[in-house]
Each structure stands twice: as structure tokens, then as C-alpha cells.
């Protein structure tokens, strides 16, 4: 029961953090802020949110080796491609 309660609290905090970060991204869009640094900042937030989904909601933090890293590697590779494309 104690483990279940801990899991519930952790996942709820992660959910609230995801919502807060989403609101930041939305606000940046609404304010019409532009520029490469803004875009890369917004994407960095998206990658961090993706990592939270991978580690917590997908529960890959409990998996070992490459299984744990598969989504994180996808996010890192995507980040590299987006960085190169937006700074080209």
C-alpha cells in the first residue's frame, strides 16, 4: 500500500509538471516570440516532457540496459536533427 501511495504521488507530480511545461510552450506561442533560440528552447522542453513520459508513464525507469534508453535515444536523435535543421 505504501509503494502504491508513493507511485501515485510521483505520477501526479509528474503529470502536473507536464501540464505546467505545456502551458509555458503555449504561452511562448501566444506571445509570438520567435527566433532560433526560442524555438530550440521550446523543443528542449518537449524533449524533457518526452523523457518524463518515458521514465514515469511508460515506466522504463524500471527497465535495464537498452530497454530503458530506447525512447531517450529516440528523443536525443530527434533533438540533434531539429537542432541542425533550425540552425542551418
Amino acid at each position: 500500500m505504501k509503494i502504491k501511495k508513493q507511485s501515485t504521488i510521483v505520477e501526479t507530480v509528474v503529470f502536473l509538471l507536464l501540464i505546467a511545461l505545456t502551458l509555458v510552450t503555449y504561452q511562448v506561442g501566444k506571445m509570438g516570440l520567435s527566433g532560433v533560440n526560442i524555438s530550440l528552447g521550446v523543443f528542449a522542453i518537449a524533449l524533457f516532457k518526452g523523457a518524463l513520459i518515458s521514465e514515469h508513464f511508460m515506466q522504463l525507469k524500471h527497465a535495464s540496459g537498452l530497454w530503458r534508453w530506447m525512447i531517450l535515444i529516440w528523443l536525443i536523435l530527434l533533438g540533434i536533427v531539429i537542432y541542425l535543421a533550425f540552425t542551418a
Binding site: S7, L18, Y26, A46, M58, S64, R68
Partner: protein
Amino acid sequence: MTKVTRYPPGEIIIWLFIMAELLVFGLFFSAYAITRIDNVELFELYQKNLDTTAALYNTIALLSSSYFVIRSVIAIKADEQKNAYRWMLLAVAMGLVFIVIKTDEFSHHIDNGITLSTNTFYMFYLSLAFFHYLHVILGLVILGVLAHNMNKGMYSSKENASVETGASYWHMVDLVWLILFPLVYVM
């Protein structure tokens, strides 16, 4: 919940499927970003025509749905079948909210005569959004089946691989949207 296991939750086959799906979406996102290099003004101009507020509501809907799914998984592992069922129903409801909002967005585009051939930006936006939309529908069917089976008491703390398998797929659908939202609507 804190022990490290060798394998990810659910059936291994779903993780191979998830990685194949992410590879396709990754190529799609990369193609969008690379095409944007020579069409920055066009992309920024038409990006402003998209409904960012609708996308925000959809992001909140999918995040909430993913959260309700993980609550359902936690509940079933604690043998709380009724709670697991209720959380799963809430997850389905939020997924349906996404479908309603996205369908409305698509219908507005159709009313305005926007198609895949309107310009390069809309070709990418409509293809990506519709491809993801189809994944949400498939995910909702899976969650619906899980909810139905939960109501019949088919899962427990010992028998929950199907729940974790379906949950993993749904989180992947959420993950893809978390990338699509900033990339296509905001950046």
C-alpha cells in the same frame, strides 16, 4: 514499483511495434524540419493560421488521459479492479475529447478549402496530424477493450500484462503529440 526489471512493462512485441512507430514518426518530423530550412517564411506564415488554443486543449486532454491510464495500471497492480476500471474510463473520455477537438479542426480546414496540395506546410501538417489522429483512434479502441475487460474482472495484480501493453501504446501516442505540438504549432 521501485525494483529494476530486465524488460519493459507489457508484452515485448508492443515495444518493437512502438520503436517501429517512433522510427516512422521520427523520419516524418525530420523531413518536416529539413524541408522547413528552405521554406522558413512559408512555414512561419501558415503556422500562424493553426489553432494553438485547440492544440493546447488537445495536449492537456492527452496528458490527462495518459495520467489516468497510469493510475489505472497502479490500481490494477493493487488489485483495485473497480478503481482501475474508473480510471480507464476517464482515460477513454479524455481521448474522445482529443478526437472531437481534432475532428473540428480538420473540418475547419476542409471548409476553408485547405488540402494536402495547398502548400508544403499544409502537406506536412495535415499528413502528420491525420497519421497521429489514426493512432489515437486505434489507441482508444485498445483502451476501450481494456476497460471492458476490467469491468468483467479479467485483470488483477498477477494478470495485468495486457493492461501494461495497451498502456504503453497509449503513452507512445501521447509522446508523439508532445513533439508534434511544439514543432508544428509553435516553433
